[in-house]
Amino acid sequence: MNAGFIRLFGLAFLCIMLYAFSGAALAAEPLVWVALSDAGGAHAEAAEAAEAEIERTGAGQGDALIRPWRELSGPPPRLIIAVGGQALSGMLASGPRVPLLAVLVPEWAFQRSVAGFNDRSNSAVLLDQPPARQFAALRLALPDRRRVGVVFGPESRWQEPAYQRAATDAGLTLVVGRVSAPDDLARTLQRTLDDCDVLLAVADSVVFNNASVQNILTAAYRQRVPLVGFSPSYVKAGALLAVYSSPTQVGRQAGEMARVFLSGRPLQSPQAPHDFVVGINAEVARSLGVPLRPGDEAALVQQLRAAERKP
């Protein structure tokens, strides 16, 4: 190997290194970290919607860095969007102390996670639909059923007053069942079903979980009481209908909030999702004799939106 070849090799190496450093130096630091709990599925869908919304009106490409939360490091951004419960907990615990916006978490999970992290401004686009929207949907879909049963568990009991108020506002009677342990469920459920003509599910792992849903659905069906869920999974499992927001919808809403924040205004407080969809299980409707047909979902959404726009 001669000296000329070594000199040529060294020159080429130098050129490559210069190019690499100049590129990094030219790129702007990302303004927003989008931390994912899960690399795919609903989380990626929400993150992409948020990124699209940020970049639609913002400084342009590269403002948002989407990574699984464990892979995010470097100079702190201006805002962290945490998608899902794990990203939220992880970023709160080990992320930089910058404002944090949580997405795709129910309210109870958000509240439990941020408790003790008051050193920074935290906000969220919550998954929970407002009780008023759910009752409105009930009134539209099941106009004859006024007694709405809700079984609260330890994780959802705090919502009971809000539900109570909304029911009253909607002109409905709330039949409440309270469960503190899984063994109480069957008895409480039976009592609640005996007293109501529609059962509304709320997110609570003690009451509604994979193992209990079948029996709850069976029990409700045997009483001819339709179940109203809070996610497409419930519609699929046998609930009559569900009002929920898609990941894209909440992602887009989070993107809007991030844009507002990046424009210099303070981070807005946690919000319920603005946009939503309605899912209907037409088979269940037919079985229970409820006059809902496939295609009624869009009409229902329209009617609900219209009602919500009214002052």
């Binding site: 899902g84 795709l104 509604f208 979980n209 994979n210 029996n215 809070f230």
Partner: protein, 634 residues
């Protein structure tokens, strides 16, 4: 082992493979059916237990016993084989229990199991919480759905009795079908086989009858192609055998007739020859007899020396002529079949006595020693005259061919037989001649054929007589040392010695009155002169009446009588003897006969008459007469 019958073999050949196949098929079929029944029962039990577990889940969740009982009842009603059901909760308590005999322990999670308890199949299935995936981002959980928790157990008992019953019926049905198949197969096989075996058995029967000689037996054709050919073949064969046998019989009949004709002719010739010989014997013997007596008488007369010499030559010639005549006649009589042996017990000692009387003197006269040995108390079963003749010839031969030393007559007992042997110290017989020595006119050491040395016929007669007696005649010889001839004679069983053997004739003068009857005047005269020359008083005549008249006229009582057998007219020696005995009591009578036929011998024996053939030797006559006179009448 007795071979199996044809029908049975055909039946076995047809039915045995079918039976094996049927049994094998029945076994396989039944085993498979029973296995599938067992599997079906188990599958049904599992399905029912799972169904009940699925149904019971909500009842268990809601603690609704009525619901569970209904579900259990529905299941029990649906399946009669179910003998017990229980639904057990997670704590091990039975929420519903119906007719259950076994309550198994809480099984490990996720395990479904089954086991047999006597006649009962027990299936244990866990009740799982049905899982619906509703835990997602909306509920705040993102973990995948956990496996369904076990919330209880279903225990199901199924009776195997119907299965066992079904198995029994299955087995029974299989056996019946197999048996039916075998019976039908067997009947068909027998029917088909009979079409073959019946003709074959029929053919076999006919062949047996043909073999037994029933050549008219025929097969009635009633079989198929191959066997029909056989049937026709058997019939053809029987017919051919019958016709061949007929031909044969005709040929045999013709040949037999021809043979009979030849035989008759031969017999006629033989009878003619025999008659001729009888006549010749009588006619020749009479003058020869007389000649002998006259010469003997002449020898006793007082003649000068020269005349005595002539008389001795005449005597010698007469003697040779008599021997020659006797021997030739004997041979011809034997050959003509006129001599038949009469077997009777014979005392060896008496036989030896007689031989000694006859021959010892002539042997001793030649300067040889004569000895006898053994035979005391032994009885032979033989014809005394023929045996005596054989031994006499052998002894006379021995004397003739021995120049010094001696002759031994011996008897030795060998088992059930006696060996009668004649030993000599003569010239012996060369090895090359030993085979021909029994032929006629075979003489050793007599090339010049000296008549005085015999005729060469002795051994030939001996051999013929021995053959008649069926006793082998053997010979051993060393040239220059001598010979031994042996005849083996069977012993007679336990015969007492009837009488004391006659004493050896004493060459002393005789006294007594002797009647002589002969129709030949020449013989009558010569016999009378001879007997008178021995010192006896004689009365001679041609008939018994005359001689009795002469005797009575002289006032004498006879002591013995000599009669010719053949007399004039219808008279014969036996009649004469009876007439004499009527008159004189038990008078000893000697019959002289030119032809010693069996009838003559029998007659003589029957009437206890002494018998002497003509021409007789004077010495013999004298010895006999002597013993008769010693015996005396009474």
């Amino acid at each position: 082992m007795r071979p199996l019958g044809l029908n049975l073999r055909v039946l076995l050949a047809a039915v045995l493979p079918a039976a094996l196949v049927a049994v094998a098929l029945a076994a396989i079929f039944t085993a498979r059916q029973v296995a599938s029944l067992e599997e079906a029962l188990l599958a049904r039990g599992r399905a029912e237990a799972r169904q009940l577990a699925s149904n019971a889940e909500f009842g268990l969740f809601s603690g609704n016993r009525d619901f569970l009982e209904r579900a259990v009842r529905n299941l029990s009603q649906a399946d009669g084989a179910i003998t017990g059901v229980a639904v057990i909760d997670a704590g091990g308590a039975a929420l519903v229990r119906q007719g259950l005999s076994v309550l198994p322990e809480w099984p490990p999670i996720g395990e479904e199991r089954d086991f047999l308890s006597g006649e009962t199949l027990v299936v244990v299935t866990p009740i799982r919480r049905e899982v619906l995936a509703v835990e997602d981002i909306y509920s705040g959980f993102s973990q995948p759905a956990a496996a369904g928790r076990i919330s209880g157990l279903v225990v199901l008992e199924l009776s195997r009795a119907p299965l066992l019953r079904e198995r029994f019926y299955l087995l029974l049905a299989t056996l019946i079908v197999a048996l039916f198949g075998l019976i039908v197969g067997g009947v068909l096989a027998v029917r088909i086989a009979r079409g073959v075996t019946r003709p074959v058995l029929h053919i076999s029967d006919v062949v047996r009858r043909i073999a037994a000689g029933d050549l008219q037996a025929r097969v009635t054709p009633d079989a198929g192609d191959a066997v029909r050919q056989l049937e026709h073949g058997i019939n053809d064969m029987a017919q051919r055998i019958a016709s061949a046998q007929g031909n044969l019989r005709e040929q045999i009949t013709a040949a037999t007739a021809e043979l009979r004709q030849r035989k008759d002719e031969a017999e006629e010739v033989a009878a003619t020859k025999s008659r001729f010989l009888a006549s010749a014997s009588h006619d020749l013997r009479q003058p020869m007899h007389a000649l002998g007596l006259f010469v003997s008488r002449l020898g006793r007369m007082s003649l000068d020396h020269e005349a005595h010499g002539v008389v001795r030559y005449i005597e010698s010639s007469v003697s040779v002529m008599q021997d020659l005549l006797d021997t030739l006649l004997d041979i011809s009589r034997i050959d003509a079949g006129l001599v038949t042996p009469t077997l009777a017990p014979v005392a060896v000692s008496r036989l030896f006595d007689r031989l000694e009387i006859e021959l010892a003197e002539s042997i001793r006269r030649k300067g040889l020693e004569f000895r006898r040995h053994g035979g005391e108390g032994l009885w032979l079963l033989t014809d005394a005259a023929l045996l005596e003749r054989i031994l006499m010839n052998l002894l006379s031969n021995a004397g003739r061919y021995t120049q010094r030393g001696g002759v031994l007559l011996a008897c030795r007992r060998r088992g059930d037989a006696a060996w009668l042997e004649v030993w000599d110290t003569g010239i012996g017989i060369p090895l090359e001649a030993q085979r021909t020595v029994f032929q006629e006119y075979m003489q050793l050491g007599n090339p010049e054929r000296d008549r005085a040395k015999g005729l060469g016929l002795g051994l030939s007669i001996c051999e013929r007589l021995a053959r008649l007696l069926r006793t082998p005649l053997r010979m051993q010889s060393r040239p220059g040392y001598g010979s031994v001839f042996r005849i083996e004679v069977p012993l007679a069983a336990g015969v007492p010695e009837p009488a004391v053997a006659p004493a050896v004739a004493e060459m002393v003068g005789m006294s007594g009155t002797v009647l002589i009857v002969d129709d030949d005047p020449l013989v009558l005269a010569s016999t009378t002169q001879l007997v008178a020359s021995w010192g006896c008083r004689t009365f001679a005549a041609a008939s018994v009446a005359e001689v009795m008249g002469e005797c009575d006229a002289a006032g004498c009582r006879p002591d013995a009588a000599i009669c010719d057998y053949r007399l004039r007219g219808f008279e014969n020696g036996v009649h004469t003897a009876r007439t004499l005995r009527l008159r004189y009591g038990d008078l000893p009578v000697l019959l002289l006969s030119g032809d010693l036929t069996d009838s003559v011998r029998e007659a003589a024996e029957r009437h206890q008459l002494a018998l002497l053939g003509k021409p007789m030797k004077p010495a013999r006559l004298r010895a006999l007469l002597q013993s008769m006179l010693n015996q005396g009448p009474g």
